[in-house]
Symmetry: C4
């Protein structure tokens, strides 16, 4: 199996997820500006999830770019990642509708945590399939972001029941960490090209 | 017609189906963890259907990979398969919302049965179009999974009215059978490459 | 502009339309088989529209296959066609929910008529862009199906208010006419290849 | 990163947005023609947004066609544009449901304004990445349309609270301005080819 079909399918699913979240934003019944007020928390949670999905799309591309061959276990690890990503509109909608209440904020973090673990599993599957000369292994390197993010999510989940604004702050913080584009893979690829 | 457009269209439809099922999961109104309880059966039925659609996507890819030319009858056999797959979110939603009650569980099996038949028809159309040297025919071989699955679905449909948990067990069993990736086609393709 | 991006975009839109119609099929509230009864007319109208969209997708592919260059007017003629096709889930849902009542049945035919006209405009734009040696013009030839279909739709629209089952019969008839795959374009393309 | 994956992803998102707007058009409950009356303003706002999204899709293609390499900042500028475009179904639905009332009409213009700014940012990012020999810079040239459109939107937003039909007229006017296909980029590309 070639990577390009896996890529196209994943892109399709991520594009649908990112757009479907808009549907969670139900059109308010009133026609004045005050009617927009309850939509604002939904909108803010939508912005956060949009950024997260954008980060996943971007990193996913870089990871697959460093992959030559798709095995059965890579394919299922990828579907597993898409499964957790596809739950993001649900948790986003629940969190936005309940104005970032404790339980929805914790569940939002739980799905982010599972997606992060699924991403790590996908990377491992690719590295194992590539063997000792793995291009992705060199590219990922120490992967401090990939290690720190699940820790911060795991911290944010119980914290949501104590002080949920702290959890939200952690989610925003992790997003900002990743927004800085992943130059590691790009630079390794560039080095290879030169050789 | 080239296979790649058929592939892209089918991938698009399957990606939409797999993602649209999330929309069946209506955001609960309460904001505490107890509000999630009625969502759990919906969520479990969603997981099962996600795995089924993943299996179809995977096998569909292998089948089309062994196809060189798309005829009109292959095209319509493919649309016929997509039709039954597109009903899966509906039956999944109905089954989840009624906590795996008899009638929804039977209908879920009926749509799986029709999809299995549609898949078998698609394979036959391709094999006939390829003639006696059919690459797909060699790859599929005895196809015991493709023969056993519809039998188990046909068994599960009436059983749903007697003991619907048995039917559900059969659906899970068939999914597990297929989760083991279809190495038959892969190995035949690999043999060809060597020659 | 190359045709492949136009093709990919159109495929995407048609794939979404075909799948979104499922969402019109609201999950019934009851859990027994009787609860499915009101869904049946919706389901039948869904089957009809699925076949129509499949026909459009198939013919659209053949038409674009005979197109080398996309001009601005071809691009907008294509978007115009997609616009009318994207209204099909709406008219399908209205017709199914009102058990094929007169007004919904007439509106269903009106959207089909506009789509047929849009398709004819698209073909004309391509033929004009290709000039006197137009490959598509030779392929389409007399195009009796393309001329008969809008006439039958135009007949079905007023008839819906007299005897709406006749209109439905006409819609099914036109679908059957087109289900026979369009061998004209295929054969002209094959002749070219031989030369 | 190659432009074709960015293009495919953007096409996917725009295709979904354009089709999802149909879902805003809820099927009316009555079965006669009078039941369609409240749908008409929704339908008209849908037509306007369809044309806008078609324009963005068209121009977006031309812009990326003149782009060789995708940097991280181009990728995020593109996601930023898609974010604002994905809000169009929401504002379209709100405007249509409130019969073009002042606040919804103003919000509709605000999202158009933000999308126009996002598009301008995307163009700047590409031009900067291409350096002094930027193909896109030559193609865009004076870009009077790109400069006039945000001005007209900015004018329409406060005007919506005074006389909202004037705002709507301005939105239609800008759409008409752009409907004339952007021949600038096409002609520069053609000149290059000749050299």
């Amino acid at each position: 199996m070639k990577t390009n079909r896996l890529e196209a399918f994943s892109d399709g699913v991520i594009a649908i997820i990112i757009t479907i979240m808009v549907l969670e934003m139900k059109v308010p019944h009133g026609g004045d500006i005050a009617a927009l007020k309850p939509v604002i928390p939904v909108w803010l949670s939508y912005v956060l999830s949009f950024v997260y999905l954008g980060i996943y799309w971007n990193n996913h591309h870089h990871t697959l770019f460093a992959t030559e061959r798709v095995t059965g276990s890579i394919l299922w690890a990828n579907l597993h990642l898409l499964f957790w990503l596809s739950l993001i509109p649900f948790t986003t909608g629940w969190m936005g509708e309940n104005r970032f209440g404790p339980a929805p904020t914790a569940l939002y973090g739980f799905v982010l945590l599972m997606a992060a673990i699924a991403y790590w599993v996908l990377q491992r599957r690719i590295i194992i399939a590539q063997g000792s000369q793995s291009l992705l292994r060199q590219a990922v390197g120490g992967d401090w972001k990939g290690k720190l993010s699940p820790l911060l999510y795991a911290l944010a989940i119980p914290l949501a029941f104590v002080q949920h604004w702290v959890s939200l702050f952690l989610y925003v913080l992790v997003a900002l960490l990743w927004l800085v584009p992943d130059r590691r893979i790009e630079s390794v690829l560039r080095l290879r090209e030169r050789d």
